[in-house]
């Protein structure tokens, strides 16, 4: 279990993380979501014992990150922002160093290194110097070092940054495979990733926690959640007819689609399909919208900055 209590970090006058409190249990993939400079990386740096908090505290499975830092760090695998590596070493030599620092010796160290290399499919570059590798390989070396000791807690700062779509899929699969009995915290600004990967998402902006929920509940906050879109030959006529429905609160036309937003009364999808049948519209496409995370994200972060200005 990770527990953060009023975790705060200031750089001079600037408060990067502002009284962040949360609890994470095993089996959770938690996504830190937020605009650049929101305090995601700073929070991760504090959880992994790199930066001491200005005030507040956090513990990893009961080990305080400041008082009992080494014990806490032993439980964490960490991929820092930008995946920094010792570029002059070969992949295998670098991973041997990490295995040594994690307390593995001899044959056990070799086994751990081999397992990590296999898991991240680094075999072909095993003896290559890290600085000659492509960005995707470097990121995977960073991930290999984080999972090397199979730690109960993984903190991954933008794990799929710089990877191509196939590699992104691989890394997501890897994270999902490991998630059953671990706590995995990832930070990202790719919203689809939260949806694809996380069981819980925290939206952070200007160091403050704005939302903490499952991706599904966050999606439900979107005005697109359960909205109905359709395309037909006469969009303006359809739009005005749809806006008459008591089930619809609002209607908009965008990119050849007319979208009706639910008002909360009755089932909008049923009402719309009845209407199209009654009017005999030539409907080429009709869909029930899921929520849009980017929409939720924009609303939540914009609300908070409006408050700030007021």
């Amino acid at each position: 279990m990770i527990e953060a209590k009023k975790l705060t970090r200031c750089y001079g006058d600037f408060t990067a993380v502002d009284r962040l409190s949360f609890r994470v249990d095993s089996g959770t993939v938690l996504g830190f979501l937020g605009p650049n400079g929101a305090g995601k990386s700073t929070t991760m740096k504090m959880l992994t014992g790199f930066l001491p908090p200005t005030s507040g505290s956090a513990s990893i499975h009961g080990h305080d990150i400041v008082e009992d830092s080494v014990a806490a760090r032993r439980l964490i695998g960490y991929l820092p922002e930008g995946a920094p590596l010792y570029g002059e070493l070969s992949v295998a030599r670098f991973l041997e160093f990490v295995a040594g620092a994690r307390g593995y010796r001899g044959a056990e160290s070799g086994r751990r290194v081999d397992a990590a290399i296999e898991r991240l499919q680094l075999d072909e570059v095993r003896n290559q110097t890290i600085e000659t590798l492509s960005k995707g390989f470097k990121r995977r070396v960073g991930l290999a070092q984080a999972i090397l000791s199979d730690p109960p807690v993984l903190v991954l700062d933008e794990p799929t940054d710089g990877l191509d779509p196939n590699q992104k899929q691989q890394v997501r699969r890897l994270i999902r495979d490991m998630s059953a009995d671990k706590i995995i915290i990832i930070s990202t600004h790719i919203l689809e990733e939260v949806d694809a990967l996380c069981t819980r998402a925290m939206i952070i902006a200007r160091g403050r926690l704005l939302a903490d929920d499952s991706p599904a509940s966050l999606l439900a906050r979107s005005r697109y959640a359960r909205a109905v879109s359709l395309s037909c030959d006469d969009l303006p006529a359809a739009a005005s007819a749809l806006s008459e429905l008591p089930e619809a609160s609002d209607v908009e036309i965008r990119r050849g689609l007319v979208t009706a937003f639910p008002s909360g009364q009755g089932d909008l999808f049923d009402a719309v399909s009845r209407l199209t049948r009654d009017r005999g519209w030539q409907v080429s496409r009709m869909q029930l919208e899921a929520g849009r995370l980017d929409d939720v994200f924009r609303n939540i972060t914009r609300e908070s900055s409006a408050e700030e200005v007021a």
Partner: protein, 248 residues
């Protein structure tokens, strides 16, 4: 305790692997050997003196170290901070103190290796004459200790900045101060306004004085303690700086 030693040895080995994976090791060792040879034979008058000892060899070491040791030390923390690997290193179950000692030790062992590779000159002097090998060994010991002092200063100042050039220049200046603090040029500046005991204390801080007495074969316990304290002081400051600077 065992854990500490194990961690230090892991980091030392990684550091040494980095030296030998880059041209740093090769360039340093070759330049060190060429320069120390050139100084000994041309400036030191090794043959002309017709005395079978290594005094002409050792007497130029302080000046050689003044530039070469900061060149080794400048990268220790500056590079680590610039590339961000300091975050990797200090989030492994390794303490900042262990990392500071390990990085210093690796660099010190490396300089020691360069020093050991000057052995042909020791063979030469033994072929040509009958030197006091005890004095020679004391000279090597003193030289290595002095290199450790320079290195501790350089390592500490390297933690001040991400820029290796800045780290190098700062280190050379501070090392120069420590080297010369026994000379009248420096002492006169203090004599006007400091009590005599403090001026004597400053004079005692000089690397040159302590090195010269060891290299003449007088291995005085106080000189050993002196270099030990200098190294301990700068490494302590180094550890504090690493902790402070990692937030920036």
């Amino acid at each position: 305790m065992n854990q500490t030693l194990a961690n230090i040895s892991v980091v030392v080995r990684r550091e040494l692997a980095s030296y030998f994976a880059t041209p740093v090791a090769f360039v340093f060792i070759v330049i060190f050997l060429i320069m120390s040879g050139a100084f000994t034979f041309y400036l030191g008058g090794f043959y002309e003196r017709e005395i079978a000892d290594l005094q002409p060899f050792f007497q130029f070491h302080p000046w050689l170290y003044l530039f070469l040791v900061p060149a080794v030390g400048m990268r220790l923390w500056a590079e680590e901070r610039k590339s961000g690997t300091v975050e990797l290193l200090l989030t492994l179950p390794v303490t900042a103190g262990e990392a500071v000692v390990a990085k210093f030790l690796a660099a010190w062992l490396f300089v020691g290796l360069a020093l050991v590779l000057t052995f042909p000159i020791w063979i030469t002097v033994n072929v040509l004459g009958d030197p006091d090998n005890g004095v020679v060994i004391a000279g090597y010991l003193g030289s290595w200790l002095m290199a450790g002092g320079f290195l501790a200063i350089s390592a500490c100042l390297s933690a001040l900045t991400r820029n290796q050039v800045v780290a190098f220049i700062l280190s050379v200046v501070v090392c120069f101060g420590f080297l010369l603090s026994g000379l009248p040029m420096v002492l006169d500046a203090f004599r006007a306004w400091l009590p005599q005991t403090l001026v004597d204390a400053i004079a005692n801080l000089s690397f040159l004085g302590h090195f010269n007495s060891i290299s003449r074969g007088v291995v005085d316990f106080r000189d050993l303690v002196y270099f030990g304290l200098v190294i301990a002081f700068w490494l302590t400051a180094n550890r504090i700086l690493v902790e402070i600077k990692k937030a920036q």
